[in-house]
Amino acid sequence: MNTVFLYALVGVGLFTLGLYALIVHTHLLRKILAVNVMGSGVFLVLVALGGRTPGASPDPVPHAMVITGIVVAVSATALALALLLRVRAETGRTRLPEERLE
């Protein structure tokens, strides 16, 4: 157990927390934020596991993938926020309708 696995486990925790928030919250903005937290968890796992190399220099391939992933996550978030604004303009609501347990 070293710091690499500590960071990776924190990433797993962030992913699970984000998934919980994604399921529980009905407000669309919270869902978008939850997906972002999940993504940060995945990035943290990738960067941490890239540091398991024996030498001082980490594996550059996961790092490059994370840089790519961050930009994609930012643009996807922007699109999601634009969709949220459109949903609000069309329906006046920012929440998903509550499902009743019957």
């Binding site: 070293n2 696995f5 990776a8 486990l9 797993v12 925790g13 992913f15 699970t16 998934l19 919980y20 399921i23 529980v24 796992v45 596991l49 890239g50 398991r52 190399t53 024996p54 030498g55 220099s57 980490p58 594996d59 550059p60 391939v61 996961p62 790092h63 490059a64 993938m65 840089i67 790519t68 961050i70 930009v71 994609v72 930012v74 643009s75 996807a76 922007a78 699109l79 926020l81 634009a82 969709l83 604004l85 459109r86 303009a89 347990l101 019957e102």
Partner: protein, 229 residues
Amino acid sequence: MSAADHKWSSLALRWVRLLLLLALAGGLAYAVLSLPDQAIGLNDQVRSNMETSGVHNPVTAVLLNFRGYDTLLEMGVLLVALLGVWSLGAAAAHRRVGPGPVLSFLVDGLVPMMILMAGYLLWVGAAAPGGAFQAGSVLAAAGILLLLSSKRLPVRLMRWPLRFALVLGLGAFVAVGVTLLSVSGLFLQYPPGLAGGLILFIEAAATLSIGVTLAALFLGGRPEAGPRR
């Protein structure tokens, strides 16, 4: 179903959900912990091919050379996201509220510095942490600062020059790839002697496009080339 039953079933649902998530977290943690302590990964392949990559920073070499496809497609993703945002409608009407003297002074001082910083990050990416994405983000931050202090592009730059800047990164990348395809028969296979120059060219175009695209995404809609200012 009575109210009490409803309460019980929602409580049960909450526990089931919590248990499932804990099981998922446990499974993921187990998967992570069962990985070997030390792994070389692709480190050796990257290091042994650094001479042919044209740059000295391994992350830049992976992004722009060894896995150039990823970056090419990612520029496409950025553009598609922006098209999605633009297709949803026009940006909210712009209220022309001039910034106060302090903000105005700050923006006038900061934006040139940020553009300089973006250029530095782009250049240093060949040998140290930095590169097109970092430089593009700084450029986008400068653009957002300008948008927030209600400075807009002149109308004559709003249509074709803006769209040209948006597609420049992807366009330059594809142009280099197609040129190399017709010369050497391999898409995005840089000749080692030219690799450094080609990467710098692609990165410069990508920096501008990333910066403009992110700032345009911040606007949250298609900019209307109406009489704004």
